[in-house]
């Protein structure tokens, strides 16, 4: 009798410890999530607040939405031009990277080539190179051939970010398609290019989209290339944003509105491909 009583108490103790343990885990995770998204909440809410409400501390949570900042940046700071520039540059560099990258990745995964492994490692090591190493010489070369502040120049520069990434990412996806499929298509009389573009690429649709999204992400979020190689005509959104914080004037309301336009689309896109985020960020080392 005595023994049984002790046992139930023991169980209760373990159970309550587990409960506390779990509560602490929840608390830490929720706190971390709040810290992670707080600045983003701040961005969205401040963009909709009237200029005077931005400065109220502690921050107010109920306010009348005010879209005037968006109108201001569109009218006075030609937000639209920068947005289009960002769009042109990121889609251009992504398109080229996907095309060249899928050819190269297909060759690297499907054929046993002499030195193929070395080529693959050489390509990925370019992705790890700090951009500044390439920027200074590119700046000198671009001034000579008149590519500074042009879309083509910036697209070329961004290819150093997107192409090595696309090659490695696509190699991972190609490896998941069994070779038997290629062979079957070849037997049916398909050409090598036909196999790649009509059979294999459609099969890795999801992976292709993920690769594209992350190429767009690198290109869209890039600041150092755009800031060094463009001034006005081809400047992208991050360049415009960095200009809001001058040495004397800080245009907060304009920043918040532009910040939403710059950050929201890319965050939404990334949400749809979050399954591949880790894979993309580790060059395919972790799936």
């Amino acid at each position: 009798m005595q023994r049984k009583k002790f046992k139930t108490q023991d169980m209760r103790y373990i159970k309550s410890m587990r409960c506390i343990n779990r509560a602490i885990a929840y608390f830490i995770l929720i706190a971390a999530s709040i810290i992670a998204i707080f600045p983003i909440y701040w961005l969205l809410s401040s963009a909709l607040k009237a200029a005077k409400d931005i400065w109220i501390m502690p921050p107010i949570f109920l306010f009348k939405p005010d879209l005037s900042h968006f109108v201001t940046v569109i009218e006075e700071r030609s937000l639209f031009k920068y947005f289009v520039n960002s769009l042109i540059v990121s889609s251009g560099s992504t398109g080229i990277a996907l095309f060249l990258g899928s050819l190269a990745a297909y060759a690297l995964t499907r054929y046993s080539m002499k030195g193929g492994k070395h080529i693959a490692f050489w390509i990925i090591s370019l992705r790890m190179m700090p951009p500044i190493v390439v920027i200074l010489p590119l700046y000198i070369l671009f001034t000579r051939v008149g590519l500074v502040d042009t879309h083509i120049g910036l697209i070329l520069a961004h290819i150093t970010l997107t192409l090595p990434f696309a090659v490695w990412m696509l190699m991972g996806f190609f490896k998941e398609i069994p070779l038997a499929i290629d062979e079957a298509a070849l037997i049916d009389g398909c050409t090598t290019m036909g196999v790649l573009f009509k059979v294999v690429l459609p099969l890795i649709r999801g992976g292709l989209v993920a690769t594209a999204v992350f190429c767009i992400l690198w290109s869209w979020n890039d600041f150092i290339f755009a800031f060094s190689l463009t001034t006005t005509d081809a400047a992208t959104l991050p360049v415009l944003i960095s200009g809001f914080l001058g040495d004397y004037v800080w245009e907060w309301s304009s920043f918040y509105a532009t910040g939403v336009v710059a950050a929201a689309p890319i965050m939404l896109l990334a949400l749809f491909t979050q399954k591949y985020l880790v894979r993309a960020m580790t060059f395919g080392a972790v799936k």
């Binding site: 929840y26 830490i28 995964t109 520069a157 490896k175 972790v286």
Partner: protein
């Protein structure tokens, strides 16, 4: 192998397929880097572009032994690596282990929240934090004042400027470490854990003797990627402090940018680039050495 080769009559096809990418990369990455090395052996000021004077390794000598700002930038970069990476790793591991617990619900929601800092445009994140570091209107000083502390001039005080940058970096990249480690945890086999639990291992013992040893390759990958990323940090520092006050937050990439594209001392800037490059190449070598075989599995 032999059977497959029958189909590939055109032995040169793969080379033709890989060629465009290789040519493009040589033109826009390798050629500029070689050119940059050539420039680094010269004294070249873009204000007087025709004076292109060969001086051998003098630029390297001057930078390493005579340039105090460069040394400061190097030191700051090392401090960033030394502080941010351990903190991000510790926090990331803790959160990943918590998120991986069976009794936690709503994992998807936590994941979505924690993905956001990783994918937000770094310039936007930097400016958002610049506001929060504001001595009067920022939320950080507001919380400090709530607990009765003195307000801190985060970005204007040399003592707090570098820690401010660390805070932003930790905010932005801890979730990345967490997500990678969480993915690693999910990929671990279940059996050894069940066996250990039956044998009566405690949570802590499981973590120490099973989880961490099994995760070592992934841990190394994440640490190396973070190190290489911190060495190239530019956006955040530029937006928050531009290297100031004084040279309190000068980092390698920013100093490199400044010497090259603000002062136009191209020879010296190219030299800094190459010093950074050598640094990163060594790290990347380590990356490949540790993961090389696993990293490149050919299923042909």
């Amino acid at each position: 192998m032999k059977k497959r080769k029958v189909f590939y009559i055109h032995k040169l096809t793969p080379y033709f397929m890989i060629l465009p990418a290789v040519i493009v990369l040589i033109l826009i990455a390798i050629y500029p880097m070689v050119f940059s090395f050539w420039v680094s052996l010269h004294r070249w000021y873009l204000g007087r572009p025709h004076l292109f004077l060969f001086i051998g390794l003098e630029n390297y000598y001057t930078l390493i032994f005579k340039d105090s700002v460069f040394r400061r930038a190097f030191l700051n970069t090392l401090v960033l690596v030394g502080v941010c990476i351990p903190v991000e790793f510790a926090l990331g591991t803790m959160l990943a282990v918590l998120l991986n617990r069976d009794d936690i619900k709503g994992k998807k929601i936590f994941r979505v929240c924690l993905i956001m800092p990783v994918v937000i445009t770094p310039v936007v994140a930097g400016v958002l934090w610049k506001f929060q570091f504001h001595p009067f209107y920022g939320i950080i000083n507001y919380f400090i004042s709530l607990v009765g502390g003195k307000s801190i001039e985060w970005l204007a005080d040399p003592r707090f400027a570098l820690p401010s940058i660390m805070i932003v970096d930790i905010w932005q990249w801890t979730p990345f470490v967490l997500l990678v480690l969480y993915a690693g945890l999910l990929s671990l086999p279940r059996e050894p854990f069940e066996a250990a639990k039956i044998d009566g291992a405690s949570e802590w013992q499981l973590l120490k003797h099973l989880t961490i040893p099994l995760l070592i390759p992934i841990i190394v990958v994440v640490l190396l990627i973070r190190t290489m990323d911190i060495i190239k940090v530019f956006d955040t520092v530029y937006v928050l402090t531009r290297g100031g006050p004084g040279d309190a937050t000068e980092v390698l990439t920013l100093y490199n940018f400044r010497v090259g594209l603000n002062y136009f001392y191209m020879g010296r800037a190219a030299t800094i680039s190459w010093i950074i490059a050598i640094f990163v190449i060594l790290l990347a070598q380590l990356f490949f050495r540790i993961l090389g075989t696993e990293f490149y599995k050919k299923r042909t």
